[in-house]
Subunit: 91 residues, 7 copies
């Protein structure tokens, strides 16, 4: 299902994923980390800003900080809309 | 009815909408989100700034943060005037 | 009566108006808004800055935030001197 | 008497004037304003900065905020040295 | 084992090393320092930003502040993802 | 005696002078000012920064804020090293 | 002994020196100064940033603020790694 949503500026819409004990690339998200990064899939990407060309693409799996973004909910899934600069890495 | 109001700089005038349980594009605005985004329709758009070309257009439905903007009231409807950078996405 | 005053930089001198229940363009200034915008008429305009060309003109009616600017008083009317960026919209 | 003092950068030396009930241009400085602007005469002007060309000239009467600048005293008069950006208007 | 992870922007993924009493270059990390720098090996490097070309390379041993970065865990090793500007030196 | 010291960047080394009741140019430094400017003689001047060309020269007498700079002592005299932007005026 | 360490960006590695009562150039570091500058010898210098060309060289004796930098220890000597902008002067 395609989402009809266009993030503004350098924002990215991310579908949060359940925390797993081991990811495909073998990365563990630890339980006791002082600030646990979260994992999600990119669902929509803004067009960027004059001094910020977007790097992530729809379909990328990304890590981001625990308090990044603003929550949305769609069909029972959790979405977050955040600035690309809040994304730590593509895994 | 056309509003005779010209937002200054990179500001946008938004007509707040009643929270719905499900939008046309299927997006739910959750009750319990720590910071609930709000939805509204763009009524007037400023001319931007030298380093900020406006993206939203009159008639767009937009999401924005709960504390974004300054309130106005017109004919019983709620308006908000906010900077475009406070707008999260066009839906 | 012409005022002999030249606002510096990107500042604007505004003559505050009595709050009305309904303006010419039909905009209500609500009583209970968390931050009520104020209305006034532009009386004098600074020459701007290198990176800020002025938009408002003498005679414009403008909306601005409740705490914007510094108060002056002249012949019983209230004046405010504020930066143009504190002005929300021209009505 | 000419003062042998050269304000640095974008600073202005101002000789504070006694508060009057009515100025030549008819402006009252109110008693009860939350932040009363002060009035004074420009005595010396810095050479500006690369991105700030000076606007006020020696002899101008200016308004400035109550807490602007640093105090100096000369022959019983009050002087203030402040950045030009602390000056609100030329009257 | 190659890690399938691409740090975003000017971020660097670092594998934390056990604190040693003496490094190859003879540097001691003191016990009682007010802010102990940490040592680790660069595992992955972002592509930088328009105004920030990356300096560190995969395989470099780096020193960084005690509170730098966000923790990840992989196969029992500690990883940190941090901005390159949080890296103090290459040893 | 020439001091062998080169202030870095836009810093200036100033030899503090005893407060006088009246300076050569007739300026009094008041006792009760909320923030008393200090007077001193410029002893050494940094080479400036890319966007800050130095204005003061060795030998200039300058005024600066009470809390400006970092103290040094040499042969019983007080020195201060401060950024040129902390200097208010040349007298 | 040459140290195998490369400070990143605009950082400088400094070997702290014992406080002396009188330096070669006759500068005293006072006991009671509110913020005592420290003295040290430059041991390694970063390559600078796009908008910051390095000024200090290996071998320079420098003054820096009491709380500048992060501590390292090597063969019983104290090292500090700090940004060049934390260095006050070359003596």
């Amino acid at each position: 299902m395609a989402l009809k949503i266009q993030p503004l500026s350098d924002r990215v819409l991310v579908e949060a994923q359940e925390a797993e004990t081991k990811t495909a690339s073998g990365i563990y998200i630890p339980d006791s980390a002082k600030e646990k990064p979260q994992k999600g899939k990119v669902v929509a990407v803004g067009s960027g800003k004059k001094d910020h060309k977007m790097t992530v693409k729809v379909g990328d799996t990304v890590l981001y900080g625990k308090y990044a973004g603003t929550e949305l909910k769609l069909d029972g899934n959790d979405y977050l809309i955040m600035r690309e600069d809040d994304i730590l890495a593509i895994v």
